[in-house]
């Protein structure tokens, strides 16, 4: 992930300032026998209890198990079926539970949306998930209180002991920002969440609620950081600020308010997103010392503590009681996050792919030669785990630019076909030429983008153009636009038939120059 130099320096300074004589766990869990064995035990527990505690538990505990269990399977990267079941459970807690007002609606809706949006970033959006998230955005806007935040349940303007809870608002922030990146309809919820974060976050930390800016709501701050990095805003100064604050307080997670699971997972995931060094600090302090040795015999943990009255040895010894599915999933996630990029907003990388830099270089060549589908695939393969992580955002950007360009061209060609029939032949001639040109360009686009979804759209446009031209010729004479039947002429380059596409491809290729090694 790309961070600005200033942000990197800030993070490194925080690291230096807080790592006097601390242990760092830099090893990937694959190369750490303790972590690997612990992960195997915890994953076995998660899979063994999945049906009972996740798939068929429709109540409060089932929500928490599906949420944190879902993240564990998402981070694992090799459990798409389980991750999908969790996504289905999240849909239930959003579209049924929260919609009916069955309790903790603010928490359940925001957490469900957070998971669903992260799931979609990895596995893509389906019509069902799109509908669920877009309902959630409407729900978030509907339930936003007049003061600007969200409470455990909607207060609907009524009083309560606090006006809002930042954990809910920051969960919505992460989810809605992810939705924006996914290209989903957020409606006013996007400005709602951005406005909320500007009020509750001081750039480094997040307050309990809107009564202040900045505070010790560690999970809330973590959500903001994750939301920013997932949605492609990793260079936002808040990422470095919050990352620094979390690192400063990495040994004091137990001091955060109320829910230990929430804060321990949040801080771990956010530090993982911050930098490998930051996560090594987290893992070095907790994994071998407090968490793994306190696993129960069945591989599970009890809920993470939020008790700051006891020393850590004593507080974390309680984990031995075991039996908490959510906490076990959190530990599994923590161990897996020792692998750099394990919790990323990108799809899992398939085994056996060439290194990122090779994929990137090949993609540039393919783009230049007009093999767009193959280029798109190469760009899609540039993912965490393939080395040269700085190429990932460049590849994502270039891939998105290519998709946008192709979609825009199809749209423009289709618009040209939508013009009404003229009344006389004189006026029909230029229109017929334009339609003919559109048809030719659409057919060429279909060939260039073969294998991409846009190719079938282009094929439809080409077919529509042929039908339209036939109709016009039937009406105004068979010689209509015959003189241009061969136009436009190709000049040897793959995009010569479409000057707009050619200009766009120049811009797309230019983006790739940012990734030159």
């Amino acid at each position: 992930m790309h961070l600005r130099p200033f942000a990197l320096i800030t993070l490194l300074w925080c690291l230096v300032a807080t790592t006097g004589a601390v242990e760092l766990h830099r090893e990937d869990h694959h190369t750490c026998s303790t972590c690997n064995a612990a992960l195997a035990r915890s994953m076995e527990y998660l899979r063994k209890n999945f049906d009972k505690q996740v798939a068929t538990d429709g109540w409060y505990a089932g929500m928490l198990n599906s949420f944190w269990g879902g993240f564990a399977f998402l981070i694992d990267g090799n459990s798409p079926k389980e991750a999908k079941v969790c996504a289905d459970r999240m849909r239930f807690y959003l579209e049924t539970w929260a919609k009916k007002g069955m309790g903790y609606d603010g928490w359940f809706a925001s957490m469900s949306m957070f998971y669903l949006s992260e799931y979609c970033l990895r596995y893509g959006t389906t019509p069902e998930l799109k509908a669920a998230l877009e309902f959630g955005a409407k729900f978030a806007h509907k339930t936003r209180e007049s003061e600007g935040g969200w409470f455990h349940n909607p207060r609907w303007g009524g009083p309560n002991y606090a006006i809002d809870i930042s954990g809910v608002g920051c969960g919505y922030f992460a989810a809605v920002r992810n939705m924006e990146r996914l290209g989903l309809e957020t409606g006013p919820a996007l400005s709602d969440v951005n406005d909320y974060i500007s009020k509750v976050c001081d750039g480094r930390s997040v307050a309990y609620g809107l009564n202040g800016r900045g505070g010790f709501a560690l999970a809330s701050g973590s959500y903001v950081l994750i939301g920013l990095t997932s949605s492609g805003a990793g260079d936002d100064p808040k990422v470095a600020g919050i990352g620094g604050h979390l690192l400063e307080n990495v040994e004091r997670i137990r001091n955060a308010h109320a829910n230990g699971n929430l804060h321990h997972f949040g801080v771990a995931a956010a530090l993982h997103r911050s930098s490998p060094e930051a996560y090594a600090r987290f893992a070095g302090f907790y994994l071998h010392k407090y968490f793994i040795p306190n696993m129960a015999s069945d591989g599970s943990l009890a809920p993470f503590p939020n008790d700051n009255t006891k020393p850590p040895e004593e507080a974390y010894a309680e984990l031995k009681k075991g039996g908490d599915y959510a906490a076990t999933a959190i530990l599994a996630s923590m161990i897996m996050m020792t692998r750099q990029g394990a919790f990323s907003p990108y799809p899992p990388r398939k085994a056996g792919l060439p290194p990122n830099k090779d994929c990137f270089a090949k993609a540039q060549t393919l783009l230049g030669s007009g093999k767009l589908a193959q280029a798109h695939e190469q760009l899609s393969n540039i993912l965490p785990g393939g080395g040269d992580d700085q190429l990932i955002p460049v590849a994502q950007k270039q891939r998105k630019a290519l998709e946008d360009l192709l979609n825009q061209r199809v749209l423009a060609l289709r618009e040209r076909l939508a013009q009404a029939d003229p009344v006389d032949r004189t006026a029909a001639e230029p229109l017929a030429i334009a339609i003919h040109t559109s048809g030719v360009q659409a057919a060429a686009l279909e060939k260039l983008a073969a294998g991409l979804p846009v190719a079938s759209d282009a094929k439809i446009v080409a077919g529509e153009a042929r039908k339209r031209l036939t109709r016009l010729r039937g009406k105004f004479g068979p010689s209509l636009a015959k003189d241009t039947a061969e136009a436009p002429t190709a000049d040897g380059t793959p995009f010569a038939h479409d000057s707009e596409l050619a200009a766009g491809m120049v811009r797309v290729l230019a983006l790739g120059k940012d990734g030159n090694l």
């Binding site: 409407k138 806007h141 309560n160």
Partner: protein, 374 residues
Amino acid sequence: MNPCPDRWLIAVMLVASTLVQASTADRSAIKERIDWCSTTISAVVGGQPISDRDLPGRVVLLIQNGLGADDAWNSFAVKTSMEFVGAVSAGGLVPLFVVDDAKANLNAWSSKNGAPTIGFVERQHLHIPGFIWGGAPRFVLVDADGVIISDMIIDGRDLSGGSRYHSRGILMKPDDVRRTVEGGPGPLVPPGSWNSCRAEAETLTAAAVTSKPLTPVLKALRERAKSGDKAEAQKLLDAVRQYVQRQLAVAERNRAGNPLLYKRVLERLQAQLGTDELGKPLDALVKSMTSDKSFQAELKAAEDFSLVIRTAAEISFGVGDPDAPRPADRIKAIRSGLQTVLSRHPKSQTARLAEIQRQQWDTWVAKAVEPLPW
């Protein structure tokens, strides 16, 4: 020329002072009100039979809580409530204990020495316009003009009452209750012990929170005043006279701004005093009210608007979840009623309120995920 630092300092201080004053004025100007004239109480489940007609022009304390099997909780709830209810003489305010269900009963209240003037009402039977029921234990103090003085929730985790939070209003203390009652009609029966007229004092106390007729007790007091117990009876008769005057003062100060409240207070006093001589000043006021055409126009507008507000309150329209199930025909009736108020009374002060209400409802409806028949 060098600017004089002192002058700059004074200028800055003046500007700052003006801003602070403006800010304070803004805050004090935003006073939330409860429209008791459009409130519905469809049933009480215990205690005094308080009706919605008893609320306008009186100090009201809403207590939201749940009494039940937990003795420690009952003790805490009654003790905390009585800090406020007991801050003034019985009858000084109308206490309404709002419960979730009828199981929470008066026995728990009485066994812990709760005041007898309280009325128990279920939430489903109490419809207050624009009011949202929140966490509990909650105390909402409303002055005689309908202004919310305090809206406080106590965090019941600490049964000693030590952990308190407040919301939307100020932290309420017993002195706040005393001051609010003093600014309203006050208690009907003055503090003190009653011997020969004890029964009459109790009847009058109960009548101060209901609309029960006073004529029988006034007649009894006059009989006693002629006999040997003259002092106590005369004291109570004077108290009633003063109480009526204070009620009329509350009504009078609301005559221009809230004609419906004015009318309701006069009607209640007329019903309570009947043909008694203490009620004679009311005849002239009612006659004046009836013959004042501009007042009648405003009153008619307020009555029409109140009907709309009442209908909305009964289906919680405009508050809570806009997507919660509500009868479509009532929503349409509310919209139509509001349009009627705006078109039939365009120049009335009520029309301005109706317009503000329409905008608020429009905004609320716009938040619905599913389209509403609005």
